[in-house]
Amino acid sequence: MVSPEVEIQASASLITKIQTQYCMLYGKNLILATKPYTQEFRSKSWAYVISTFSLLLIFLSVTTFVPNIYVKIPCGILVGLLVVRSFVIYHDYEHHSILQKSFIARVIMTIFGIYILAPASIWKRSHDYHHNHNSKLFTADIGSFPIVTKRKFFAMSKSNRFMYLAIRHPLNILFGYITIFALGMCVRSFLSSPKKHYDSLLALIIHIVGSVLVIHYFGWITWLLAVYVPFFIACGLGTHFFDIDVHNMLYFAPFGLLFNAIAFGATLIYFLLSSKDILAVGHNGAEYFALIFFVLCGTSIVTSFNTLLMLFLGIEIISIPLYILTGAAKRDLKSNEASLKYFLMGAFSTGLMLLGIAFLYGATPNGSFFFWMTWL
């Protein structure tokens, strides 16, 4: 029988052992160790603020005033991307990490906050809450898009579930400028406490008046490109469309992602070059394209697999549409033969690969097959 004191001593010695082994820091030491990183290079901050905001202004004015539509479209998209970058700076500023006690910075940031429909008062309420309560969140979400766990989702009432799904619906996120930012953030917070959030009303009024003025003086197209597209991009980019828990089955390393980019680019070029030939193969043009997209899906699984199971799944998703594509020219005897041959040999090799995978599962000591953990 081990007495409790001995047990406590043992666990304490274990903790110190872990601390020394992994250089883990706690409490005050941890805060002191991060000190060197908290310094701000003010000139650098200013350089980033000025460059980003001046670029934003330049592109915004180009989109508004240049009549040529081919200039307008790329500029509108660039404005959207620049808004995202400025928002990152705005985020840091609102967290008091850069450019504190500067009057000019405050003016710029206030204007920007109104411009993106996320004024400082809302920030104080919601986002500061999230950072102040990092370890005791009552929901798992940050910002305007809620995320709940599966168990919580099933525990919700029906109307709550509907609201949750509606908010997370891709369409809603696509039109986030109107639904989330204008209605969700500004109108709602203003209605809840008009005194505290007077700047939301100001932002809304400025946005509506600005839109009306732009439409009146420059026409619909300019409004679409100078006002809507940037927010469309910015509001869409700031949120993840699909929040999927892959349970470590996939591992997204830069290597695989870079290749994904190349594969998607190559497919685009392939489509541009030979889409007419694809349509000429048979009567089911749409299906050929769909099958090629299935293959592409398999390719992106295969480049970021983390378990042998995922590897197998990816290879099968690649192979099966390929068997069909090979036999796409139904009237051609040669094509049929090729398809059958490919299918039979593919089935054989798949069987061999599965055998190998089974051996590996048997050979790994703890039966786990996350090889990022077991073999590294």
Binding site: F255, I262, Y270, L273, S274, F305, L308, S335, G346, S349
Partner: protein
């Protein structure tokens, strides 16, 4: 895995399938799918079996030598353009397998670059083949 990238002892299906399939799909198979499986190959052997490289090194070396040899020599005797391109793609697989043999960051960068260049070039040449098919076959 060797089957999918059509490396040497498992390459026999390649010319037949490439020849039989409609040319547009052949070009897709030879480029994107093939390089994709190569990435998987490298990730599997590099990350999972990298620790025991000594054991499979010789095996991979033999496969590379056989692939390059068979791919390039047999291509000489081919009568149809598509069959020749199929053998050329077998030979390319041999070159790409070199990255698997060396397995360092340099090789990884190399294979990314190679797969991009190879995909572009092969899509181009198959597109051309498709246009002039009647002349060659």
């Amino acid at each position: 895995m060797s089957f999918k990238v059509s490396a040497a002892p498992f390459h026999f299906w390649t010319p037949d399938v490439y020849d039989g399939a409609p040319t547009v799909f052949t070009s897709f198979m030879a480029t994107i799918v093939k390089t994709g499986v190569f990435i998987a190959f490298i990730r599997l052997f590099g990350d999972a079996f990298g620790a025991m490289q000594v054991r499979w090194e010789l095996f991979v070396a033999i496969i590379i030598a056989a692939t390059l040899f068979i791919g390039n020599i047999t291509a000489v005797f081919q009568q149809s353009v598509k069959r020749m391109l199929a053998y050329s793609s077998i030979a390319q697989a041999g070159f790409m397998l070199f990255a698997l043999l060396t397995l360092n960051t340099f090789a990884k960068e190399g294979i990314i670059l190679y797969s991009a260049a190879y995909s572009l070039a092969t899509i181009g040449i198959f597109f051309d083949t498709d246009k002039d098919e009647r002349l060659f076959v």
